[in-house]
Point group: C2
Chain length 571, copies 2
């Protein structure tokens, strides 16, 4: 491609409402333009990278035996009513009426449509397994769209759905997709982790997120540097500390703690070790008596709401008790709560269960207890894992301690079981002649989000640094004085032709820009390999090569540059 026949439109400054580096750089480099909040047009430069991601995803999905289809963007409400998701999906699912007042949605995902699609066409166990995928526009009406293409409203997703005879066969399909996802993210050239994730209320029991590692990521990823353990924060298990609970060493005493509302206040006021304090969290119970449930975590730990939401006797989804309900049950306001004299259900985190001489609220405003001990001052609690892990916690596999890094979720594989096939009565005839529900899995990749994630992982002060595989162009030729010097033009044209002949996706910058502006453009756009061709160098038979990560250019003989670039590209 010649730049004069393409469309390059870089900006000095990103619009003021851009709030993350990838969004700023994509706007400045002319990859996207905003049409409305969370809705973007893909400019020629951005579309080139997007198509490369799509092509890699498509190739690996096909290679894994998945079959491409396209399901409609506008979907009838009836299918969503069959599974009940018409009611349970939140406002993120955009609903509207057509001119005849019939209800529709703009697809946020396609479990319903794909199940409807196959229930007429997949009739026999002989046709299984099957895996259908699409690379298609999705819409989620985010309340607060942000981070550019990372949390936009209109986006491109690859969504695949597998159909199997049995749970075991579905496991094979799951593993197959897991492997395909690894190939996809390997080929794209991103540093990522596949982390075990919670399966939530859907029913299946296997789920992994593919997380691109980036300091700006929204998600916390827990992993063990000494083993292959990796999970997201929702799922990662906080194991019990080793050893027995120490014997009580102090008497329980009530302390007047005026204006102490938080653990930080408490530690400050009592000059206490935060590890002796216990945080009391009150959530709604699921009983008809309306009694709340008390959850205890150590003062420096965080409640894990997903874990807590699954506790016996706790209302699901997890709901924090109202101040009124707390006063009614505890006789005190939040800030002074604890297990002593609370007659209801009490869950203690595994770490809390090993504590002695705890500092807790006294269930009396402005009062705390020190020296609290389970079994002596209050009943033994129910022990459960209800907190987020922290760096340094023992790894659940016993092979070291956990570390935490940030990630951006770009893929998700999920075993669904028969949730959708049962709801939609989608069956096949098994070998025994009996109808059975399909065992399903679903597998998503955020195609547009990958570009944002790749930038969050690969940028510097000058702009984007694309991995070769998804760069809009792999190589840029920057002739200095293309319009003025016949030698420069001839050398640039020749190298361009040779690279094209070798199947390299190269752009020749024939715009006649000043070198400074030209280099700044390509550094911002992030093309990984650059060859600069100028009169001065040519006189000595030289051109310059510079990788986007190199701090300076390397002089090189004209007749060696083609080979050099091809080697760099692994050709």
């Amino acid at each position: 491609m010649r730049a004069s026949q393409f469309f390059i439109s870089t900006l000095k400054e990103a619009p003021a409402d851009a709030d993350i580096v990838s969004q700023k750089l994509m706007l400045r480099a002319g990859f996207i333009r905003k049409a409305a909040a969370g809705i973007y047009s893909w400019m020629p430069m951005g579309l080139k990278s997007l198509r490369k991601v799509e092509a890699i995803v498509r190739e690996e999905m096909n290679r894994a035996g998945a079959i491409e289809v396209i399901m409609p963007i506008v979907q009838p409400a009836g299918l969503w009513q069959e599974t009940g998701r018409w009611d349970t999906m939140g406002e993120e699912m955009l609903r509207f009426k057509d001119r005849h007042e019939r209800d529709f949605v703009i697809q946020p995902t396609s479990e319903e449509v794909v199940t409807d699609l196959i229930r007429g066409d997949l009739k026999s166990y002989r046709a299984l397994p099957k895996n259908f995928y699409q690379i298609q526009t999705k819409f989620r009406d985010e309340r607060r769209p942000r981070f550019g293409v990372m949390r936009g409203r209109e986006f491109t997703m690859k969504d695949a759905y597998s159909f199997d005879r049995s749970a075991d066969a579905a496991g094979v399909s799951y593993d197959n997709m897991y492997a395909a996802y690894c190939k996809i993210f390997d080929r794209i050239g991103l540093t990522y982790r596949a982390v075990a994730a919670d399966t939530g209320a859907i029913g299946g029991d296997r789920s992994h997120e593919f997380q691109v590692i980036a300091a700006t990521g929204e998600d916390a990823i827990i992993y063990c540097p000494d083993s292959d353990y990796a999970a997201n924060i929702e799922l990662a298990e906080a194991v019990a500390p080793a050893g027995e609970r120490p014997a009580p060493g102090a008497a329980m005493e009530k302390v007047y703690t005026p204006k102490v509302k938080t653990i930080a206040d408490l530690v400050d006021f009592l000059k206490a070790d935060i590890k002796q304090t216990v945080k009391a969290i009150v959530v709604d119970g699921d009983g008809e008596d309306g009694q709340p449930v008390l959850l205890l975590v150590r003062g420096d730990h965080e409640l894990n709401e997903v874990k807590a939401g699954k506790l016996d006797g706790v209302k699901s989804p997890l709901t924090f008790a109202s101040p009124d309900a707390i006063r009614a049950s505890f006789g005190a306001n939040p800030g002074s709560l604890g297990p002593v004299n609370f007659p209801g259900k009490v869950y203690a985190d595994r770490t809390v269960a090993k504590m002695a001489d705890m500092i807790t609220g006294a269930n009396e405003d402005d009062q705390h207890f020190t020296g609290v001990n389970f079994g002596r001052d209050c009943p033994e609690p129910i022990v459960a894992d209800i907190r987020n892990v922290v760096a340094g916690d023992p790894s659940p596999d016993g092979k070291g301690v956990l570390a935490i890094e940030r990630g951006i979720e770009v893929g998700h594989v999920f075993y669904l079981g028969t949730k959708y096939s049962q709801a939609m009565n989608a069956t096949f005839l098994d070998e025994d002649g009996k109808p059975k529900f399909f065992e399903m899995g679903c597998y998503g990749i955020g195609v547009t989000r990958i570009l944002g994630a790749a930038i969050e992982q690969n940028f510097d002060a000058k702009g984007i640094i694309w991995p070769d595989a998804i760069a809009p162009f792999t190589v840029v030729l920057c002739p200095v004085g293309y319009d003025r010097s016949a030698e420069v033009k001839a050398a640039a044209d020749q190298l361009y032709a040779e690279l094209v002949a070798n199947g390299v996706d190269v752009i020749l910058d024939d715009r006649g820009e000043r070198p400074g502006a030209m280099f700044a453009d390509w550094e911002l756009i992030g093309v990984p390999h650059r060859v600069t061709i100028g009169d001065r160098g040519l006189k000595e038979g030289k051109v310059e090569y510079q990788h986007r990560r190199d701090s300076e250019a390397t002089g090189m003989a004209v007749d060696a540059i083609l080979e050099h670039v091809l080697v760099k590209l692994g050709k």
Copy 2:
């Protein structure tokens, strides 16, 4: 591709609500499945053909210098309000509100968004011309979706938009797209005509429709077999008959015509030649006096509403006068109307203007006049071309007579002028340093519709007959007894490998179906080239080749079949 790894799902019968042959065949052959009225999923087989159309369109658009972008499907109302189309677009444009009650549309087309996109980025005449296109999902909320993918609600369109410095330059862009469209439809392998079309109210003055010729087409195409004249029925000019108007030959006489309401009644009742009768059509005028206008066409001709809608003094868009208004102005009901004693504005079609001794309504219920002559019995009318042409009319270029055939519109090129750039204040700085409005053109191709049109043009009782370029597979190998015969399997596998190695898009039917069912499937699906491999033939060193249009198969030596198929494919 091996059939066992693909997805083939044919139906014996099309669903009862399928109303056109292409829709029936696409459903039966497993190309599409209905999700809602006018909304379809694309099954693997259909998607393969669709992607081939997309690829051809994309290649030729790129070759013509157009640059691909993707604009959002969900578009903010504000842009549509800028051009006023928020109000003027009918209910076909689907409008909805997001969760924050902001107005949006699902894009039916993208003039507004593309103009918004470039007004920040295209600043100088040096950047022109530019042509941006997308291949993207569109939605039009048709009141009565029908004909499958031909008049669906959700569909894929390629829409391109050119931006030029001047009307002359825009003409060059227009011609460039016209030529690209010819290449596209030539490569797809369809019989089509580019016909001049009306530009309507948009303002530009050049417009051509690309019509695929098919007996079932919705549109009438007018062309001259002896020249290159072609136009759609809305635009085709009905020239005046040669010669002078004959002198009056009869006196005007009033005839009692009880129950005569139509021209057919009149001809029948009077035993008259229909070519002596005149049809009176009353439409609303545009004056403040509310006076209607009388339009006269010969009894066997049809009014052309587009032509009539442009007449001076006629309300635009054309509106037929109400029965009450007609009675008030004519003193009679429709069925007995004519120019005699009508004091208002009268337009006569060019053919009527050359008639003498006409038979017309008498503006008195159940009464007609015979022997009516302009200038003697009523004033000379205003003469205009206001009728549809009919087969046998002289060609407007004077080179023969017109013929009519039916077509399906699959493409449209349109010169827009500055309609959108003015409305949206989209300007560039011209060489003289002054801002000027972009001269625009828009260019559409109904990507999904092409598949329906191709089938309407190419089918028989057994199913579809695809042109090679857009067949889901170009060649099908039908081994008889693939699972039973080692020889058949070996021969089929070898030919399959050779065809794949030669870049042929071949499918090997390894499903083990009975020959009858297997052949019926592929004839329905419409793969153009079939090779049958069976034990009996192999014993004599033979296989069979059959093109989908051949009435029977041709025996052929095993070692000649590869070459034969490659020659058939033009390889």
